[in-house]
Symmetry: C2
């Protein structure tokens, strides 16, 4: 049996997991992220923590993923919006030297997609789209069982499909991006604005009288308590998400869409309106054949996906070749 | 040298070409489509015409493409909106029996993409999107040098990305699809409506006083004559197309987008506004690396792409395998 280490670095913490080649988690841990520390120190701390994990000695290769603009071939983290110290850091080279193992690298959206492919689908899926509903809306594409990266490694930005060309401005500079409606911060702002004049909403009583205290978490709690306004807002969220997913089904015709990320926790409150919108908008066959899954494994998709990277990059060649020889 | 026959069947005619394995056209012809005749008769007439082409005797295999819902694996044309006689026609089986050659099949958008890949890009492209600007807006995706069909064969419907969720209703049932703005018929209707109150427009003098006579062709002619209103309308067309392409660049990060189809002829009048819109909206790197081409070969992309199908389906396996063995 071969073992792999996966590292998933984010703005708030670094998650690690050791898996076997079928993506079974054998051990896992995490450390907090120090945004001020220099990258080498962080990578060294990470490996020091990882080395305490069970089976670390047997780890054959490692995968590393993070947000940002990543040159996956060279293994360089060029730039990440929320990681100011990390500019043109040769993560692959550094980690290889420190760990003595071969290291593979990709961005957070792609490792989450690979994690979903292995954990949620057990590898039984041809074309998968993994959509992270978080502060932003991330997307990773698996096409023909392979990560689809596009020509300069930035494919999958599903959150930056404009769903309304003259709609809400998006941080990216475009107008009407899905993220401008569905990204956690943007949706939170929309809700604050919407609730301003709503006097009796239970959800308002949960913000200590200040609508600027409203968070997605509170909106979720209020929906659990069946607050009408909160339920209305989650339905609105589902409608806009349905618009996006209908387009994704029409272009990419996947057999599976997996949602993960903080906001997917609230899916009980937006799944119905999302599916109604998809039924109204998408082509019938792609809508029918596509399974929609809300992952229960959001927390580990990234680290497990990272752990599956070495396998993914190496084995796909052998596998294809064997298939073709038959 | 191996030779291939490509057949591209549309609502108005059937185009045929014989090519070598590098997509060089050696001979070509076409016949009119008889929408009332039964499919077997049409296929027989097609082959009879094809057999007069130079090098037909040396043809090793054939490819067939048409609009509609196609089961490319079984080689069945299940249904096509504009071909009422063609329901569940086993085209592959019929053509194989009639011609004595192996036949491969795909839809018009995918064979156009394959044609563009070979003719416009000479096979030197990893990820290509081919967009047909015709009555409707078609799309074909080449990912990692392979046709990307999705999980039920309907991927690539780029015209049915909603660019405005509360916009113009689309024939497909969705709202605000790119096709509702950019499809030839829809754009024509938009122009007729827009021009209704414009008294001095030259383009109106070209419609014999009846705005219902306005066609895309007339709008193009008027732009050639520098009519301000016609130029304005083509700029509008480019803006909306730019919205769509920005989203496509963000999701798919292709190295090339090829436009074909009747309306692409007018690109001199919409290319500038399209590119300005892309520059405003798309992520910088994918926008920068992507070449945008207006194909000069719209007429033969389908038949040549069809001729390349046998090669595509067979050789990719061998090629991959050889690469992987290195």
């Amino acid at each position: 049996m071969n073992y792999f280490l996966g590292i998933d670095m984010g703005g708030s913490g670094i998650k690690m997991a050791i898996t076997d080649e079928k993506a079974q988690i054998l051990d896992k841990t995490s450390i907090e992220m120090n945004l001020k520390a220099d990258p080498k120190t962080i990578l060294s701390q990470t490996l020091s923590e990882a080395s305490k994990l069970k089976f670390y000695d047997k780890v054959k290769a490692a995968g590393f993923g993070s947000a940002g603009d990543i040159d996956y071939k060279k293994g360089v983290l060029r730039y990440a919006y929320n990681l100011p110290q990390w500019k043109n850091v040769p993560v692959k080279r550094l980690l290889q030297k420190m760990s003595g193992r071969e290291v593979f690298m990709d961005n957070d959206a792609n490792i989450a997609a690979l994690g979903a492919f292995w954990i949620d689908l057990k590898g039984k899926c041809e074309n998968l789209i993994c959509i992270t509903l978080g502060t932003g809306i991330g997307g990773g594409i698996i096409a023909n069982k392979k990560i689809y990266r596009g020509s300069s490694g930035s494919a999958g930005e599903i959150g930056h499909i404009s769903i309304k060309f003259d709609g809400t401005p998006c941080n990216c500079g475009n107008i009407g991006c899905a993220e401008a409606y569905l990204g956690g911060k943007n949706f939170q702002n929309y809700c604050r604005d919407y609730l301003k004049d709503k006097k009796d909403a239970l959800v308002k009583s949960m913000t200590d009288g200040k609508i600027s205290n409203l968070t997605i978490e509170i909106l979720y709690e209020a929906a659990l308590k069946k607050d009408k306004e909160a339920l209305f807002l989650w339905r609105y969220y589902g409608e806009k998400l349905g618009v996006l997913i209908a387009s994704v089904l029409n272009i990419l015709n996947p057999d599976c869409i997996v949602f993960c990320g903080g906001l997917s926790k609230a899916h009980n409150f937006f799944e119905k309106s999302m599916k109604e919108e998809i039924a109204k908008r998408a082509f019938k066959t792609p809508a029918k054949i596509c399974r929609i899954i809300f992952s229960k494994y959001s927390n580990v998709l990234g680290s497990v996906g990272a752990a599956m990277l070495p396998n993914h990059q190496k084995q796909k060649k052998q596998r294809r070749c064997r298939q073709d020889m038959r």
